[in-house]
Each structure stands twice: as structure tokens, then as C-alpha cells.
């Protein structure tokens, strides 16, 4: 494993590869700032995001309300910051759930192949036949609207993508001589998968997870925007934008600010994803 075979110098060199990548650094900076501001929501914007004030509806951005107020006089900045927590947590849950289940199934399919592998891979083909968010909508139709169901629905789309990636990598690693050597020495399947195969597919899984985090955020907010995600009055970027849509020409700030945060979040995640791919996955690099 990397830890005991690399000298300190190599570690420093590896770290330098990360810090020298400009896109990765810019993306990480924006990402960290966004996450911090959302975590610091209680300090930056102590106003209750659901506090309604009938005297202050549709207030344009001002000192008291830097991002204005909405149709119920709720402070937009509080809603954007508190809503960001929901969007970020939901997107993260989607990729973690999808990655865990998908990696597990991919390892099983790639390592054992045979009938089990065949069945898993044909199911994957079938799930991939439903384009984009369509499958998630079908699942939402069955489970009903709500953020938890949205997370489940979207992570189901991610599972086949991970299975494909991990299965391919597992088949490749499995054919390498050191796996045969381990088998000869008496290692069981479980041990080989966990100590020899998994570490070798992990960097691809990490790169993929960053790439899909951005897409997950776009899809989670799309569900919220359509009205199938979090239910009112809870704040979430997609749901806030749904509120904004109704009063688009009347109160632009209800749409511009939450969307800007969402766009910045996805851009930063994608920049990190591109950067990690450049650094960790030299094969895909052009």
C-alpha cells in the first residue's frame, strides 16, 4: 500500500501535483467557501428562514436583507444559506448511496462473473436504457414526492453507472498475476476483493464521485424545482427557485441569488472533478 512504500519526498511531490493544478485550486477554494458559508448560516444569517413578515414582502436587496425578501417576507439570504445545507447534504447522500451500492455490485459482478455477473450487468443495461432523470421521476411517481424519496430515486440512476465502471476495472485487476499469487497463497475471495481489487479501483471511484456530485446537485434541485423534492415551507435551492419562478418579473432577486449559489456550487464541484481526474487518472488525460 502507498502509505508504507512512499518516502516523505514522494508524498510531498504528490501533494504538489494537487496544489499546482490551477483549476483544482480555484474549484476547491470556491467549494470550501460555499460549504463554510452554509455551515455558518446561523452566524451569518440568524434570521429564521421560515419566518414570515407580512410587512416586508417582495423587498429588494437592502442592508437588512442583502438578498431581498420573498412573497411571504422571508429573508432570502437565510433561505439561500439554510437551503444550501439541504441541497448539499442531499446531493452528497445521493452520490454516497449510489457509489456504495454500485461499487459493491460492480465488485461482485466483476470478480465472480458467471451467472451472477451476467444478471447484474444485464440489469445495469436495462436501467441505463432510461435516460437522465426519467428513471428518477418514475421512482418518485411510485414512492411519492419528498426529499428522502428524491435522494433514493436519483441514487438509483447512479448505481448502474458505478457498477459498469467498477466491474470493468475489477475484471482487469482480477486477471493480473498478483491476484493469482494471492489465491495460491490461500486468500479467500472476500480478502482478495477488499485488499487487492478495491484499492486498485478506488481512485476511479473517487474521480467518478466528484463528477457525479455536480450532476446529483443539478438533479436534486430539478426535482425540487418541479415540486417533487422538498415540500414547502422548507428551504432548498431547487424549491426556492420554484418560488422565484412565480414572481420572476416582479422580484428577480428571488431567482438570481439562489441560482447563483447553485451554479457556483456545481461549477466548483466540476472543477474539482476535472482536476482530480487530471491528477489521479493520467490515462484519461489528453
Amino acid at each position: 500500500m502507498a502509505v508504507h512504500s512512499t518516502s516523505q519526498g514522494t508524498v510531498r511531490w504528490r501533494f504538489a501535483k494537487f496544489t499546482r493544478h490551477r483549476g483544482l485550486m480555484i474549484g476547491s477554494t470556491i467549494f470550501v467557501l460555499l460549504v463554510l458559508s452554509v455551515l455558518a448560516a446561523p452566524m451569518i444569517s440568524p434570521a429564521d428562514p421560515n419566518f414570515q413578515n407580512a410587512m416586508a414582502t417582495f423587498g429588494p436587496p437592502s442592508l437588512a436583507h442583502p438578498m431581498g425578501t420573498d412573497a411571504f417576507g422571508r429573508d432570502m439570504m437565510a433561505r439561500v444559506l439554510w437551503g444550501g445545507r439541504v441541497t448539499m447534504l442531499a446531493s452528497l447522500s445521493v452520490v454516497v448511496l449510489g457509489a456504495l451500492v454500485g461499487t459493491m455490485l460492480g465488485l461482485i459482478a466483476g470478480y465472480f462473473q458467471g451467472v451472477v455477473g451476467f444478471v447484474i450487468m444485464r440489469l445495469v443495461d436495462l436501467l441505463l436504457a432510461f435516460p437522465g432523470i426519467l428513471l428518477a421521476l418514475a421512482v418518485t411517481a411510485i414512492l411519492g414526492p419528498g426529499i428522502e424519496n428524491g435522494v433514493i430515486a436519483i441514487s438509483i440512476i447512479l448505481v448502474p453507472v458505478y457498477v459498469r465502471l467498477v466491474e470493468g476495472a475489477t475484471v482487469e485487476v482480477r486477471a493480473l498475476p498478483f491476484v493469482d499469487a494471492a489465491t495460491t497463497l490461500g486468500a479467500g475471495s472476500m480478502r482478495i476483493i477488499l485488499t487487492h481489487v478495491l484499492p486498485n479501483v478506488l481512485s476511479s471511484v473517487i474521480v467518478m464521485t466528484t463528477t457525479w456530485l455536480g450532476i446529483a446537485a443539478l438533479w436534486i434541485t430539478a426535482l425540487g424545482f418541479i415540486g417533487l423534492g422538498v415540500q414547502p415551507p422548507q428551504a432548498e435551492w431547487g424549491a426556492i427557485l420554484n418560488d422565484g419562478q412565480m414572481f420572476l418579473t416582479l422580484a428577480w432577486w428571488m431567482t438570481v441569488f439562489p441560482g447563483l449559489f447553485l451554479a457556483l456550487f456545481v461549477i466548483s464541484v466540476n472543477m474539482i472533478g476535472d482536476g482530480l481526474r487530471d491528477v489521479l487518472d493520467p490515462i484519461i488525460r489528453d
Binding site: 436504457a129 432523470i133 418514475a138 414526492p145 455536480g214 419562478q245 418579473t249 431567482t255 461549477i267 466540476n270
Partner: protein, 307 residues
């Protein structure tokens, strides 16, 4: 050649079968009695419920239920929408043209601008146009389409009233939704075209072509672009799916009556037969388009059919 086509044909048929099974099972996975779920808020007497149960074939074994359902679906009978009081096929037929129009327009935009932006970046590799173009591509991929759509409405409804914002069937109403739908895919295509061109450029025969004195334009068109187009074609086929399902969001933003809007309304109204029909139709169109893409491969690369 024959083996290639036969293989493709068998796999598309298997895929369509699988899609229909999933769409069929959807209705059975809804918690509770499917008949009650279908009736929704409509109160019904026991006789109606029994009649509907018999009509849907719910009193028969699963396999018979599937065969009856798919037999009806193939004849265009997707059942009756109780919330809209109309046969589902009529709802779908009304919404279909608008969605196809929107998807086709967005596909045209995303392929042409994707190719332009991607080729430009590849030709000026590591120079300003490349950095700038790829930055734009990343931004286009990252910006949520519904937000972009709202910004466009804001811009064109308030500041420059050129295009119809409330969309009609005409060209003027199509521009903003098509641009909104295409943006993300333009960004994706541009990045893909660029990396595809760069890897085609690294081939030995490109160096030879340059060495024998062909002009850069000829080298690019004859030797680089042609080899780069194959993977691009695959990706374009796959992107049609993203465009089709993206209409769900874009049609909501522009309140455009299409399949996407129909699907969302049906989910909200628990109109399961409509959901089932739209899911089946969109997934089938997507599968058939990728089948056509597979059939086009041998035209671009004769080696594929000989394998």
C-alpha cells in the same frame, strides 16, 4: 455485415422488452391496490372497481396481465386517465409534437455549437481560445437549465422583448426553450469533441499526412475529423436521452405543453397510467435512436461490421 446487424437487432428487441417489463412493473410496485391508486380521489362504487380490475386484467396471472397490457400498448391503447377524463393516448398524442420539436431543435444546436466550440479549442490547443472555450463549456455544463431558462425569460421578457416567452408552437416561441435545453449538452459535446479530436490527431497517419505536405485544413477534414466523428456520434446518441428527459424541466420553466410537462402533471396527480405511458415512450424512443446510431457506424468505419 449481416452478423453485425442481426446482433444489433436482437439487442434492441431485448432492450425494448426489458423497458416494457419495467414500465409494466411500475404500476404493480405502487403501494396499495392499483385500482384504488388509479381512481385517485375519484370515489367509486364496488361495481366500477370490479369492472376496472377486470379491464386491467388484475384478476389474471402476472404473465397474462403483461401480455394483455403490452398488446394494448402496441395498438396505442394506454388506458384511461381518470384525472384528465381522457384516453391516455390522446394526452400523449397532443403533447408529443411539441416535445419532439423542442428536442430536435436542441439537438441541432448542441451538435453544431458543440462541434464548433470543440474544434476551435482543439485547433488552438493550450492557447487562449482553448482555455476560454473550455471554461465556457464547463460553465454551460454546470449551470442548472431551469435557472438559465428563468434568466433568459427575465432578459428577453423585460429587457429585450424579441422572442415569445410564453411559448407557442411557432419558431419565435421555440428559440428560448431550445437554447435553454441545449446549453448543458453544448458544453458536454464541446469538451468531448475536443478530446476526441486531440486523440485522433495523435495518430501516426496524421503525422504522415502532414509530412507528405497536405494543407492543415485537408489534414483536419480528411484525417482527423473523420476519425474523431465516430465516438462523437455515440455520445450524440446518448445525449438525445438527456435532451428528451431534460424537456421535463424546460417545459416546466416555459410552461410548454409537452411530454415532460405531461409527465410531471401526471406524477403530481397520481395519474399512473399516463406516467407509465410517457416513461415507456421516452425510453423506447431513446433506445431506437441509439439503435439507429449503431446502424450508422459501419458507414463511418467499415471495419466495425467486419468484426
Amino acid at each position: 455485415m449481416f452478423r453485425y446487424f442481426a446482433g444489433r437487432l436482437i439487442s434492441i428487441l431485448a432492450l425494448l422488452l426489458g423497458i416494457s417489463v419495467i414500465a409494466f412493473l411500475m404500476l404493480r410496485l405502487i403501494p396499495g391496490d392499483p385500482v384504488m391508486a388509479l381512481m385517485g380521489t375519484q370515489a367509486a362504487d364496488a361495481a366500477t372497481i370490479d369492472r376496472l380490475r377486470h379491464q386491467l386484467g388484475l384478476d389474471q396471472p402476472m404473465l397474462m396481465q403483461y401480455l394483455t397490457w403490452i398488446g394494448h400498448a402496441l395498438q396505442g391503447n394506454f388506458g384511461y386517465s381518470y384525472s384528465k377524463q381522457r384516453p391516455v393516448i390522446e394526452l400523449v398524442a397532443d403533447a408529443f409534437p411539441a416535445t419532439i420539436q423542442l428536442t430536435a431543435a436542441a439537438l441541432l444546436l448542441s451538435v453544431s455549437f458543440g462541434l464548433l466550440l470543440g474544434s476551435w479549442a482543439a485547433l488552438k490547443r493550450n492557447r487562449l481560445p482553448d482555455t476560454l472555450g473550455m471554461g465556457v463549456a464547463l460553465a454551460l455544463m454546470s449551470v442548472p437549465s431551469f435557472w438559465l431558462g428563468m434568466l433568459l425569460i427575465l432578459l428577453f421578457a423585460v429587457t429585450f422583448p424579441i422572442f415569445d416567452v410564453v411559448s407557442g408552437q411557432g419558431f419565435s416561441g421555440l428559440v428560448l426553450p431550445a437554447v435553454t435545453l441545449a446549453m448543458g449538452v453544448i458544453g458536454f459535446n464541446a469538451r468531448f469533441v475536443r478530446s476526441s479530436l486531440l486523440s485522433a490527431q495523435a495518430n501516426a497517419h496524421v503525422v504522415t499526412a502532414r509530412a507528405k505536405g497536405l494543407t492543415p485544413t485537408k489534414v483536419f477534414l480528411r484525417h482527423v475529423l473523420r476519425n474523431a466523428l465516430l465516438p462523437v456520434l455515440t455520445v450524440v446518441g446518448l445525449q438525445v436521452g438527456n435532451l428528451l428527459s431534460g424537456t421535463v424541466v424546460v417545459e416546466t420553466v416555459f410552461s410548454r405543453p409537452g411530454l415532460g410537462r405531461l409527465l410531471v402533471d401526471a406524477i403530481m396527480g397520481k395519474d399512473y397510467l399516463t406516467v407509465q405511458a410517457v416513461v415507456l415512450i421516452i425510453a423506447s424512443i431513446y433506445a431506437i435512436i441509439n439503435f439507429i446510431v449503431d446502424l450508422l457506424y459501419p458507414l463511418l468505419d467499415p471495419r466495425i461490421a467486419r468484426r
